[in-house]
């Protein structure tokens, strides 16, 4: 029997690539669609713009979601960068820096999954990945790319903290919940995460 189509656990199949890409694009659509109702939100934050950091997690969730669904090395990075490309193409967000942000944010999540050798996809790992992504985003904005470089030192710390918490809750928890809900619908049947809804939230996968 020929086994030419048998694939390694870590290599990307065409279906992995296309689904990862669609997750990124769907995230872009949601950002675009919600930005209308989000107008009210940002108006509320106009009084205190640093508060928008609390919403950053929304922009980080493609990274964690993509990795939890695809379960391949590089998925977090790929999805987050592609989501950033889509945002840039739609012209809803900052040109070149959005690509750098995508890279940095994706890397933050990717490193966490790599730390667990791409073998654990449970709730704590998802939360950590969200946290990692948020931490990277916050640190980069405060100290590297410097979009908030002019903040006072304490405000920079607030910014990093708020972004990290947002990443933990929105990107981490939300992505984990959505992955399980998706698995329940049978939509993930040809992916490594097809049994995500049956896996315990905390235990280690064998």
């Amino acid at each position: 029997m020929s086994t030419t189509r048998t694939t390694q656990r870590s290599t990307w199949r065409v279906v992995d690539i296309v689904i990862a890409s669609v997750i990124a694009v769907a995230s872009g659509v949601v950002f675009w669609a919600w930005s209308a109702s989000y107008g009210l939100f940002s108006l509320a934050f106009t009084a205190f713009p640093p508060g928008t950091a609390l919403l950053t997690g929304l922009w980080l969730f493609p990274a964690v979601l993509g990795a939890l669904i695809i379960r391949k090395p590089g998925a977090a990075l790929f999805c987050e960068v592609l989501a950033a490309v889509v945002e840039a193409l739609l012209g809803t967000h900052w040109g070149m820096p959005v690509l750098i942000s995508g890279l940095v944010q994706g890397l933050g999540a990717e490193l966490v999954f790599a730390l667990f050798r791409y073998r654990r996809w449970n709730l704590p790992v998802a939360l950590l990945a969200g946290l990692g992504s948020g931490l990277f985003a916050g640190l980069s904005e405060a100290y590297v790319v410097g979009s908030v470089a002019e903040y006072t030192e304490s405000m920079k710390l607030f910014h990093v903290g708020a972004t990290a918490v947002s990443g933990l809750v929105v990107a981490g928890l939300l992505s984990w919940w959505i992955t399980r809900a998706l698995a329940r619908t049978g939509a993930l049947s040809n992916l490594a995460s097809r049994r995500a809804h049956l896996e315990p939230a905390l235990a280690v996968r064998k």
Partner: protein, 774 residues
Amino acid sequence: MSAAANGRTAPLTRQGVEISARGFTWQHAERDRPAIAGLDVQIPAGQKVLLLGPSGAGKSTFLHALAGVLEVDQDAGPTGELLVGGQDAFACSFPVGLMQQDPETQVVQSRVGDDVAFGAENLGVDPQEIRERIPQALDAVGLGALGYEHRTQELSGGQKQRLALAGILAMRPGLMLLDEPTANIDPGSIPPLRDAVIGAVESTGATLIVVEHRLEAWARQVDRVLVLAPGGGIAHDLQPEALAGDAAVRAELAQAGVWIPGYVPQTSPAPRAGGAPMLHAEELVCARGEHAVRTAPASFEVTGGRALVIRGENGAGKSTLALTLGGLLEPVSGQFAASPQLADGLPPSPFSWKAGALVARIGSVFQEPEHQFVTQSVREELAFAPLRARHGAAEEQKYDPRQVEVRVQELLERLGLQDLAEANPFTLSGGEKRRLSVATVLAASPDVVILDEPTFGQDANTWRELAQLLIEELAESTAIIAVTHDEHFAAALGADELVLAPAEVAATRTSSGPMLDAPVGDSWLAKINPLAKFGAIAGATMPLISTVDWVSAAVVIAATLLMLPLAGLGIGGFFRRGWPLLAAGVLAAWGIALVGQDSGRVLLDLGIFDITEGSVAGGVATGLRALAMAVPMVLLLSTTNPSDLGGALSQQLKVPHRFVLGALAGMRLLGLMVEEFTTLTLARRARGIGNLGTVRQRVGAKLGQLLALLVQAIRRAGRLATTMEAKGFGTGQRTWIRTATFTRRDGAVLAAGVLLGAAAIAAAIWAGTYNLIW
């Protein structure tokens, strides 16, 4: 290359391949029994075969196995033997064409010419040869009039299927596999597609296997009919004539839900008596949005106990009318009013009703059942609308929870879904989903039920159950409105007919949402290599990261504005594209002014925060810097097609083409997803989810909508990946018909960008404003 050996001028000639299965069995992962078991069949080269069988008999699995797109892993695999042209099918030695039913996922690329070439490129065919095949293939499917640059997103469903066929023909396959190719296209588009298929296989000699539910179109055109048995193997091996003559075979196929020619399922007669008036429309004009195409005015009356069928050409706006009648869209002009009996104490405009009041009065069933699912089980799904239904002017609860339980139980029994009560709605079969989506609406017993193409793609059994269900509703004095092409369905319901005249403006399929592949025009910059432009922008903006000052930012912004004519943009067009960036820049500036590092005179004291000269200067610099880093991208975006950027990335930077083209294929679905998201919003209201409610309910509703979008998107992506694999994607070395080049002019653009970045920094240092942020 064997393809090239066919000669330049030869028409599409190639011998078909034979197929041989011996004891072939396929086991999917996580299934109890194999999808195909012990299949023995021989199909000679060039034969045209119609493949039938009840759902679950493994028809699609068999086609996917022949196309070599089934994945073998530790849980899934074949036993026995399946040969295509004498070679193992899983080795993919021959190009095989596969067409599936969803037109959206049969097209891979965003431009017509590229899409036709896609499969041949993957097979490594010489680009010169491919360029000659493209017009031949497009002519063969009757799309010769389309330009190569035509956007594939603008094609109708039937055209997309024919384009996919052209792409298959350009691969010169010896075997063509069609999996319900006409299930999702309107009846008028079926004959041209069918004729294109038959013409192509006859001129190339390719072997053809078609799976279809509706046999009318194919029965006369094929050589042989194979009927798969549910347990495995072949139940019947027939001459096509038997479909018309053999009563036993006809009865058996009808039992399995197959649409045999000349068969209409039996239903009880529809009641003829009309009841109370429900809806009244006078010169009603509808549209999806402010700038969308408007429907022709329509005047009509909807009465209880009667069915009304809405007909009209594609693009006439039948679905838009249905959404308006359902109280989901606001009428553009004319009169549209609910009768006092239907309104039940509320004002006459259904659009003004709250979602809970709406579901108790008018129910809307969407074309795609999954758009309407909002819960995690069939039982909850049925209970959802009645629990939210409100009646009377005071909007009291229509049913108490006890009554709801009784209604749900009744409906489960009526639909034969008792055993599936706890199943996730998304996991049901196509027919079960359709019945469930209708039942979820009937559950709140509205007086008017509106259905959009309810019988589209359904087998004869689901069709009969659906018609029977609606006839029973008519007997209960419910008014039924259906958008449908299906004459038998209209006849079964004894329906009146409303023909919607074509919309005034020719309905060009313009998408109202964002586009990723908007036309780029033919400006000077449009001809520059995308990577050169990208590099130039990086060179100009990346140095700005090192500093927060207004001088370097101003230099870059000024230079960008000066270059607008090169991109064919006026200042107006620039602001239309760039205004969100401006808004973001202002917000960033305000943030810094508020909490930035303070120095100098205090301008405003806000308690814990001060606005000072220093923080305002910091804010202005931050805002300008953000703008300067963002706006040059407008030059790239307005002059670059993402496909060209992808091609350059892959060919010149050697980014693996699987990732680049895989990403582009996914991105092509953007417009579709935006449409879907809008539809999902309407579908939520149709299920009784309003804009109001507790924070928890609203967050829940948003998450549910996100989930539904992702389910659709992931399913689509799976089918798209199958299409791409069937077109030989990702296996070997590919060729490109569009070769990316890097000329001296491209080099000059790149250098200009880098120089600009250096000049901006130099200006800031010279002006003394440069400050390193690290």
